[in-house]
């Protein structure tokens, strides 16, 4: 699968409280959550974001609360992929489990700037910055996780066992 979009760029330790503030967690409706995505760190994000856009951030993206509402809000806002130096572990897990594409690549995370046009190939792990022409190689997922993603998330993957 290949995705392409414009980059929204953030720094270190973007936590789930700013991705989707707790005051909106009285719902689990995906579109309602998306309407407040990134509100406390970037209040115009919701106005700017276009389907297919990509979030690029530095280390420890998604730290804090275990709320799955965070990757859900990002995915429902139209973001096709999140690239970061590192992800907080529960966010990493949740993204995989709900089928939000994420890639760890420190070099790409540091280089890529807001507004760059970026193309990501998940099969090869190659990230290409179309604005600068520079390419980066991200670590591909291990087969165990590939299986969860291929089946369309954890619940589909375990469905056969139920």
């Amino acid at each position: 699968m290949v995705v392409q979009g414009k980059v929204h760029k953030y720094g270190d330790n973007v936590d789930t409280d700013v991705i989707i503030p707790a005051r909106y967690l009285n719902t689990s409706n995906h579109q309602e959550l998306a309407a407040h995505c990134m509100e406390d760190i970037d209040k115009d994000f919701v106005k700017r974001v276009q389907p297919g856009d990509i979030i690029v951030a530095n280390k420890n993206f998604g730290c804090g609360s275990s709320r799955e509402h965070a990757p859900i809000a990002i995915k429902a806002s139209g973001i096709s992929c999140v690239i970061a130096s590192t992800f907080a572990r529960i966010f990493y897990r949740n993204a995989i489990n709900i089928g939000l594409a994420i890639l760890e690549c420190d070099e790409a995370a540091k280089d890529i700037q807001a507004g760059d046009e970026v193309k990501v190939d998940f099969d090869t792990g190659v990230i290409e910055n179309l604005t600068t022409g520079k390419k980066y190689q991200a670590e591909p997922f291990p087969p165990f996780i590939q299986n969860i993603i291929e089946k369309g998330g954890l619940l589909n993957a375990i469905n056969n066992r139920l």
Binding site: R89, N94, L154
Partner: protein, 420 residues
């Protein structure tokens, strides 16, 4: 190569003689947990995937603690959804208003988690139960849905950092100060994907409430779990409470650790984490009397236990909350509420001019019961001080122990309890 304590518990629950860091395994769970924010999402997923029964109705805990007593109509609808699910499957451990406590306080107290367990919870502070010698970690709602259906979860076996504790804490220094100091040392991603394994002579002198507080904040260093060895303090705590068999696991002498962090408990000072990250720590000596505050919150899964209530009372006894400061005290469970009431702590709190609330997460996550306005500052015994965590994006949260929080309530500035 030997295994860490965490690796041993994971191997036993995966039915494997041995596991290695980085290995992907599927492990059997002793308990899985959800709350009123994460369980509704899990219930949706559970139903969507066509599961028609839960794996074991006695091994699921659903705790309605975040927005309860329901703060608004939407929150009430969310809880209703979970309540109906719990009724349908006759879930034994469904905790609602009147029985409810903050999840990570109520589960150990009610003996639902114990030594040697493998536990997941759709709440990041599920790592709290490591204090009891369990492997326990936070996951998301989809993991919870899968766990409720299958009784299993997938894990990547973590590597570990060893935290060697020596010495004894001095007066007014608590488990909270230990863990804030540790996070200040290694940073909010210092233990990312790893276990924090606490060892050393210093462990023995730490009370169970201190250990629960320390393990609770392992996630604030990015850790997958934090874990304490099982000793006399643990056994005394679980004895008569924990309903399953106690299983004691110990790290092998040749277990591999990525690094070793040493902390001499006797050298620690009361510690405060400044906005907006738990790693922004200062000792009380670096900030005493310098930061003016508007609100104090004493409670949460980090510091809402009996020792915390007693610490707050020790400071507030015969004193008054400063003019212009709101002091909100929230015992974390019904039992702690009852014990505090019987010990006369509420007389002290109310006479000091503090408010006492029924158990709830409430202000900890900016839900209700103490939201901050723009520009306001709170000293809180909770575990996170991210932007907007307790209310307006321009408000600030300073994390501290109940001693420091109560002393700050008295003066209106962040204060060293020893200087009162």
């Amino acid at each position: 190569m030997g295994m860490t304590m965490t690796q041993k518990i994971l191997a036993a629950h995966a039915g494997l003689p041995e596991v290695k860091a980085g290995q992907l395994i599927v492990a059997k769970l002793d308990l899985c947990l959800g709350n009123d924010i994460t369980a509704p999402v899990a219930v949706n997923e559970f139903e969507r995937c066509g599961a028609c029964k839960v794996f074991d109705k006695s091994r699921i805990a659903l705790v309605m603690d975040h927005f309860t007593p329901n703060k608004d109509i939407k929150a009430a609808e969310q809880v209703k959804r979970v309540r109906e699910f719990a009724n349908k499957f006759d879930i034994d451990n469904y905790f609602d208003v009147g029985r409810m406590g903050v999840e990570h306080a109520v589960l150990p107290e009610q003996g639902l988690v114990g030594p040697g367990d493998c536990v997941i919870g759709a709440d990041s502070h599920t790592c709290t139960y490591g204090a009891l010698g369990a492997f326990s970690t936070g996951v998301g709602s989809t993991d919870l849905a899968a766990a409720m259906a299958t009784g299993t979860a997938w894990f990547k076996v973590p590597s570990a950092i060893k935290v060697e504790l020596t010495g004894k804490l001095s007066k007014y220094v608590t488990g909270k100060d230990v863990v804030l100091h540790l996070i200040g040392m290694i940073g909010v991603d210092g233990a990312l994907y790893k276990s924090l394994e606490f060892t050393g002579d210093g462990v023995a002198a730490l009370s169970m409430d201190d250990r629960l507080c320390i393990a609770n904040m392992a996630i604030e260093a990015g850790a997958k779990n934090g874990i304490f060895p099982v000793d006399d303090v643990t056994l005394a705590y679980v004895n008569g409470r924990f309903k399953r068999e106690v299983r004691i696991f110990e790290a092998d002498p040749d277990a591999e650790y990525e690094s070793v962090v040493k902390i001499d408990l006797s050298e620690l000072r009361p510690t405060v984490a400044f906005p907006h990250l738990p790693e922004n720590t200062k000792t009380i000596d670096e900030c005493n009397g310098q930061v003016k505050i508007d609100q104090v919150v004493i409670g949460s899964c980090t510091n809402g236990r009996m020792e915390d209530m007693r610490a707050a009372a020790e400071i507030l006894k015969g004193r008054k909350v400063a003019k212009g400061v709101r002091c909100i005290i929230i015992p974390a469970t019904q039992q702690i509420w009852l014990d505090s009431m019987r010990e006369g702590l509420f007389d002290i709190f109310i006479e000091a001019g503090a408010a006492v609330s029924t158990p709830t997460c409430g202000p900890c996550l900016g839900g209700h019961m103490g939201i901050l306005a723009a520009g306001e500052r709170a000293v809180s015994t909770t575990n996170r001080n991210f932007v907007g965590r307790m209310g307006h994006v321009e408000s600030e949260v300073y994390l501290a122990s109940p001693y420091v929080a109560a002393a700050s309530a008295v003066t209106g500035y962040i204060t060293d309890p020893a200087t009162l």
